[in-house]
């Protein structure tokens, strides 16, 4: 637990100090919102659907950027080798990187929810609160997948290209479930109406976290 906390604390400190990931994620979210709101020009009846779509586009692209930056920091000066040689359990190391990625993404998503409220003219209220489960499950699942895949892609020359090629096809079922659950929440339906979509998201979370914990050791090991 001590090593897990040390890695998480270090990642948060690096991010707070540089702000690189958070600022880049926020700027990207803002760009996505602006482009989509003017491209779609949403009518009142379509607002919930379009806002949910914009939110998830921001989540996926922002998540990839955040996970990549977190791993680049580890590969700078070979720090990943130091972590590999240290006594930390690879699953705990994966957990710490995942927790850091989740925290960065969550901060940006709070800002993104504020932006969709503004750009899509949504009401502050219970509908936004109902977004929380789908966003939380979606963020956790995508952070879990992106952390694992970023560990692979950051060691390759074309890592920035490789991550979306690997991550997006694997995450498509979860994206569909997330968009549907978010649309239901923003349309004012009760949580129970989105329960099957939330169930799918939770199942993907379990799958990606388990895979990450099991495979991370092999991913960071060198030939």
């Amino acid at each position: 637990m001590g090593a897990f906390a040390a890695v998480l604390r270090k990642d948060l400190r690096l991010e707070i100090r540089s702000g690189q990931s958070t600022i880049a994620l926020f700027a990207l979210s803002l760009l996505i919102m602006v482009v989509l709101v003017f491209a779609l020009n949403p009518q009142p009846i379509d607002r919930a659907r379009d806002a949910a779509a914009a939110l998830w586009v921001a989540l996926v692209f922002g998540g990839m950027l955040g996970a990549t930056r977190s791993m680049i920091a580890e590969n700078e000066n070979g720090c990943m080798r130091a972590l590999t040689l240290s006594p930390i359990d690879p699953a705990a190391l994966y957990g710490a990187k995942l927790a850091a990625a989740f925290a960065f993404m969550a901060i940006v998503e709070i800002a993104a929810v504020g932006l969709i409220t503004l750009f899509f003219n949504l009401d502050f209220g219970a509908d936004l609160a109902r977004l929380a489960p789908s966003l939380m499950f979606g963020t956790l699942g995508f952070a879990a997948l992106a952390t694992l895949l970023a560990a692979i892609s950051s060691r390759t020359r074309a890592g920035d290209l490789l991550l979306p090629i690997l991550a997006i096809p694997l995450f498509i079922p979860a994206i569909i479930a997330g968009v549907k659950a978010s649309e239901a929440a923003l349309s004012g339906f009760p949580l129970a109406a989105a329960s099957q979509w939330l169930g799918i998201l939770a199942a993907f979370d379990v799958l990606f976290i388990t895979l990450g914990a099991l495979l991370f050791e092999h991913v960071i090991r060198e030939d």
Binding site: G2, K10, C79, P87, R221
Partner: protein
């Protein structure tokens, strides 16, 4: 006779079809200091990485304190390593870097330990970020990082690179102190070194590790500290 701290058995490493290390059978007893010399690209760093479990041999094995380097397990925490890369976070200060590694290894009083080792390697810039350090300052801090956990095995890849004469003497003194407390050390260098202690000398020739015997033809030794 002391038990071997490090033992390689018919170890071979190839990159693609290019053989780098051929049939390495090396044994370093506990508490000994060994020096491995060789030219650029001779495989010194690769051998150290394999012993540390950071790279896998193509065939054969490296045994460290009785554990295969393919799965070192708890033996990992007994190894301190210095490589050409500093393993330091540029956006953390010297103190924060060492405190992080102390916490990672579960060392109590990480702050105090970091202070002690920053002083031991003569760094005045404890609160400066590593990205502002010169190569030599970074090397000093890397040496502190490698040695602060009081490892039983030190793997030091060219530990005197980029250091000024005062720092060279200081690092040599730290290595001698580590050996005196029973630590085993494997150092690499391009040429022979004299640390003022008994050293088992080896060299890599055409991918094979052989004892360094012909001292009359040795390159000029650098006498360090003592």
């Amino acid at each position: 006779m002391a038990r071997p701290a490090v033992e390689t058995r018919a170890l071979i490493k190839t990159f693609g079809v290019v053989p780098v290390l051929r049939d390495i059978n090396l044994q370093i007893s506990e508490g000994r200091c060994a020096l491995l010399t060789g030219g650029n690209g001779s495989g010194k760093s690769t051998l150290l990485r394999i012993i540390a479990g950071l790279s896998q041999p193509t065939s054969g094995d490296a045994i460290v304190f009785g554990a295969s380097s393919r799965n070192l397990g708890v033996v990992r925490r007994r190894i301190g390593m210095l490589t050409h890369q500093s393993w330091l976070y540029p956006n953390l200060t010297a103190r924060e870097n060492l405190t992080f590694y102390a916490e990672l290894y579960g060392m109590p009083h990480g702050d105090g330990l970091a202070e002690k080792w920053i002083a031991a390697v003569g760094l005045a810039a404890a609160n400066d970020r590593v990205r502002e350090f010169s190569r030599g300052m970074e090397q000093r801090l890397s040496i502190a990082r490698a040695m602060m956990m009081a490892p039983d095995l030190l793997l030091l890849d060219e530990p005197f690179a980029a250091l000024d004469p005062d720092a060279v003497a200081m690092v040599a003194d730290l290595i001698r102190s580590a050996i005196a407390r029973g630590c085993t050390a494997l150092l690499t260098a391009h040429s022979q070194l004299d640390l003022g202690i008994e050293i088992d000398r080896y060299q890599i020739v055409n991918g094979r590790v052989v004892p360094f015997r012909d001292e009359s033809r040795a390159p000029q030794r650098s006498r360090i500290g003592a």
